[in-house]
Symmetry: C2
Subunit: 421 residues, 2 copies
């Protein structure tokens, strides 16, 4: 039982911040029991940790990233999706047959996830079984939480990044069988790369595995117009791109993440809502690959679940602060081009997506509501905050726009500090 | 005489990088004499500084920033230009009547300019004379180079940020008279805030001062449609916004910076070219205030001088890496909306603008051509570079996208290291 004191700010709904100045977060069994202005007699048993004037915010959740592309950040920002995959991405991913290389890249990735305060994430590995298991092990050892999936891709890849349907399925099951070795922080997820990479047989059998074992699914959706046209040709019987997954059993209620979702039909939006699909909004990636801008604000207002994704390495930063800022900037340019101010995301909405929006995929995470897991960052903003009279909300805004890992002085997952020193 | 060794990369023209792997930059009197693969006998007198595998790049030039808005970064990103000025910016600037406050803010600004490797900049101060002189003094003491102007504004401001025409002119001249006290790194610049802030009399007399004393001019241009409409009403005799400055004598050949320049008429583009006006492209600011996207690529191709500006605090980052990335991202969204791929900026073009493009305003700066001032950053990318086979160009790209001040291990201005330790 801990009582953690500081300036507390978080979201429950997308539209507004909940602010508790100079208050105590009471934590029991890793979960938020209450937030109190003062401790009463019953709280005498709590271990008090006083962060004084610092901010306490929910830690970040990254709903979409490719661990095996981390070495490529910043390189190859000159092409759109399909040629970008061929030229830069597949050649990098094929290196993960080598476990020494995989270990080196994952070490940097995990260091940076920790540093930047992204304590939960949903990760695409490569198609390689051993690299995927290694990533699970390394993430678990660092105390981070993640859904991690081996990428399935049995068609339309290059000759050095190839698996046949049988291997793809066998390796998927082999990995599922490894999961009990890890803590509950590490969870499996079925990860067909995207429709063009997966044969019908593979998709159908992955859907069956997900159904039989009740496992989550993640993939890509409506990122790029050429991609959508290709999917239409590959699955002519589908009504739309999301339907192409759905008819293979890969849209699982409350248990599916689709990244991008820029060009959606009304039917797809309805299905997202009906099945509570989680959308990973990846604004940085979508700008880098000139993919488009997702109408995040309108989709939030429709009640669709949305979190933010770095989409490394089409995204150029793993730092969630950057992705929040890009989400807002992209939405402002969208509003300029649609001549519709109501497309502009507020800081509240963008922060919500980066914490509670994605956190819901992990259960009761990403907020400090009663019963939430206490996943938190402690922010010391003294290195840049020149405004002694700034409100807690303004201090959060300043952290998002100008803070970095040096300002995060403690990180909690499920009530435990992840500090190793 | 120094021979500085490392992996050298810079631009002379916007379209391509000049790369000299593992070579020597020979520096005499603070200027680049040559770049050599090997030292010959004549070079034995040179002090050799070997940066081994590190990158050596030109230091950054920020063509447009408001020093007196630095405390506001990240706050108030919810409004367009004119209400944003009223609500957030003017109330902050009025604080600079207090020199203690000014000193505190400038200290952070100068620390960050140094840290981020922006060793030359063009700065708006507030309307206050003493704060402006203090900024000149503090910048000079830190060894940074800048054009610094007291902002002139004798109409349409709020009651707490006000000067009459006579005071505005007198304080401008008082500051000019202080300039000889500083090193040649610190230069004056006439700084009418923008047409709506300056009476006709003020503009005309500022033009005369600039002419009489041969002093540079900086202001704002074509940032926002409401602003442009306002200018049209205020100066009905002008052909366009740039002409409103020109007819007051404030467009000075090769000696004028105009920030933003998003919505330009053909006549304005012609005049920019004819008078070699420098345009400060401020993509981050333009996204934050939903102003629009300047057609930077097409303007570069027309031969217009363009540098990058952080435009603090409408811009949200002083870090030039971020502004380069935002320039590219914004140009990609522009190309998406214009359906014209030729609006997309390359990394070469964006880097050129951040170094040579703005550097030209300072003379022969921002490049390592023969005769250029040796203004440079030394980049150690070992904290993130996972690619032992990366080319020098790829390593520069990675630095731009994922590096930060911790990767800049040395900074040179006019041949001298600015390290104080």
């Amino acid at each position: 039982m801990k009582a953690i004191k500081g300036n507390i700010i978080f979201t429950i709904l997308p539209q507004k911040f909940e602010v508790f100045e100079n208050s105590y977060l009471l934590i029991e069994n890793g979960k938020v029991k209450s937030i109190e202005r003062h401790l009463n007699e019953e709280s005498f048993d709590y271990e008090i940790i006083d962060y004084k004037d610092n901010l306490i915010i929910p830690s970040f959740v990254d709903l979409h990233l490719h661990a095996v592309q981390y070495a490529n950040i910043g390189i190859g920002m000159d092409l759109p999706l399909l040629p970008w995959l061929e030229k830069y991405t597949y050649p990098e991913e094929q290196k993960f047959g080598n476990l020494e290389y995989a270990k080196k890249v994952f070490k940097f990735l995990i260091r940076d996830l920790y540093d930047f305060g992204t304590l939960r994430s949903c990760i695409f590995s490569s198609l390689h079984k051993d690299a995927t298991i290694l990533l699970m092990k390394m993430m678990d050892e660092r105390g981070l939480s993640a859904y991690i999936g081996k990428t399935n891709m049995d068609r339309n890849s290059n000759e050095n990044l190839f698996e046949n349907t049988r291997d793809s399925l066998k390796w998927t099951i082999d990995i599922l069988d490894e999961i009990p070795k890890f803590s509950s922080r590490i969870r499996p997820i079925i990860t067909p790369r995207f429709i063009p990479s997966c044969s019908d047989e593979l998709l159908i059998k992955l859907g069956q595995i997900a159904e039989d074992r009740d496992i989550a699914v993640q993939s890509h959706l409506n990122e790029n117009l050429s991609e959508i046209e290709w999917v239409r040709k590959l699955v002519p019987e589908s009504k739309n791109y999301l339907d192409a997954y759905d008819i293979r059993g890969l849209v699982r209620r409350l248990n599916t993440i689709m990244a991008h979702a820029i060009y959606n039909t009304d039917d797809e939006l309805e299905l997202m809502k009906k099945e509570s699909v989680f959308i990973a909004h990846c604004p940085s990636s979508n700008m880098n690959l000139t993919s488009g801008i997702m109408k995040a604000k309108k989709m939030l207002e429709m009640g669709i679940n949305i979190g933010l994704g770095s989409d490394i390495s089409a995204g150029d930063s793993l730092k969630m602060n950057d992705i929040i800022v890009d989400a807002i900037k992209a939405s402002k340019l969208l509003s300029l081009f649609t001549h519709d101010e109501s497309d502009t995301l507020s800081i509240e909405e963008a922060f919500y997506m980066s914490t509670r929006g994605g956190g819901k995929f992990f259960g009761n995470c990403g907020s400090f509501e009663y019963g939430s897991f206490f996943d938190a960052l402690v922010i010391d903003d003294s290195s840049y905050n020149l405004k002694p009279d700034a409100s807690i909300t303004e201090r959060l805004e300043m952290f998002i726009y100008r803070g970095d890992d040096r300002n995060i002085i403690d990180r909690y997952l499920e009530g435990r500090s992840l500090k190793t020193e």
